[in-house]
């Protein structure tokens, strides 16, 4: 039961990263807004988590001799839903990677220019890919395992379980720990900066304007005062 719903939380963490990465590269090159990515996948994840938990609880309270397999079937639905949302996640991530590679540097978010050059940040998408693939394999295995119920052949095959369940999640979590988003972003501040807000739409196309304004900006009052003091001295 714990092992069934555990990875649904891990995928939630993975889904969160995509929205942040989209902001770092620039929302204007993305098909959807970071808010859309994060919210959509959070809802999907919540649904699969709910189905797995309800199914698990139902299967646990159901009599072993009960011929109806409602609990197990709901669990399978939850796991299958997780597989479907992971598939959509992979597809949308790949599409964004394609767009980011195709984009010119001037189209990308200027605020995160240095972050994009960080080695650990460039490794993060690969870590997410590894984690996604391993969790995907594990979810497909669990669907196949529960297809015949707890008494099924695959559900009673220890070797298959010890290879396709535990190690897959271990590889996924090692990838997300070694290339932790904090390490990838370099600091708590840059992770916090790459966030979307509930209030205003983040769909800003004023990156160029901001670049220009920074270059041609007049010295601030403090700076001009400092210059005055220097000239007087």
């Amino acid at each position: 039961m714990c092992l069934t719903i555990g990875p649904a939380f891990l995928t939630a963490s993975i889904y969160l990263c995509l929205g942040r990465i989209v902001i770092v590269y620039g929302q204007n090159i993305s098909r959807f807004s970071p808010k859309f990515y994060t919210l959509t996948f959070m809802v999907c994840d919540f649904i699969s988590l709910l189905l797995q938990a309800v199914g698990g609880a139902l299967a646990a309270t159901q009599d072993a001799n009960d011929p109806s397999r409602d609990g197990v079937n709901i669990m399978i639905a939850g796991l299958a839903f997780q597989v479907v949302s992971l598939t959509i996640f992979v597809a949308l991530s790949m599409e964004f990677v394609y767009r980011a590679r195709k984009a010119r540097e001037s189209d990308l978010n200027f605020d995160f220019f240095n972050l994009r050059k960080r080695t650990m940040f460039r490794v993060l998408p690969y870590a997410i890919a590894v984690a996604t693939i391993t969790i995907y394999i594990r979810c497909v295995f669990r669907v196949a395992e529960l297809k015949d119920g707890f008494g099924g052949e695959l559900a009673n095959n220890q070797t298959a379980f010890m290879i396709l369940e535990g190690p897959m999640i271990i590889i996924a979590t090692i990838a997300l720990t070694v290339c932790h988003p904090g390490i990838a972003f370099g600091s708590a501040a840059s992770w916090a900066a790459a966030n979307w807000t509930w209030k205003k739409s983040n769909k800003s196309d004023n990156n160029h304007i901001r670049m220009v304004s920074q270059e041609t900006a007049t010295p601030s009052i403090a700076e001009s005062e400092l210059n005055d003091m220097k000239s007087r001295a």
């Binding site: 714990c2 939380f9 963490s13 698990g56 707890f150 997300l176 720990t177 708590a188």
Partner: protein, 104 residues
């Protein structure tokens, strides 16, 4: 076949007598009545449990340094459930008839 008397499940033990299912243990009842038909490996599950516990601690350390709250909540819950799950399987390796541990 199992017989139910006043909510208690009685099953035939290997020596032919009917016994309370809760009293089943390896060697007393047939593995057909266990939650899973194999005895979970003790060493394997212990190894996985320890690995997940270490990763959980590492995530807590990284949370303390970088504060990615949403990411951490997911990783924390996920890893904690993995640790509990494999701990459950360790106890299940001692008694594969224990339904509570199987649910865990």
């Amino acid at each position: 076949m199992a017989t139910v008397v006043n909510g208690t499940v009685f099953i035939p033990a290997l020596n032919g007598t009917l016994i309370n299912k809760d009293d089943c243990a390896i060697g007393v009842c047939s593995m057909d009545y266990a939650q899973i038909e194999y005895i979970p490996t003790y060493g394997g599950n212990l190894t996985y449990c320890i690995i997940f516990a270490v990763l959980l601690l590492a995530q807590m350390g990284l949370m303390w340094k970088y504060r990615p709250l949403g990411f951490f909540v997911g990783m924390f819950c996920g890893l904690l459930l993995e640790v509990l799950g494999y701990a459950g399987r360790i106890t299940l390796s001692g008694n594969p008839f224990n339904f509570d541990q199987f649910v865990l």
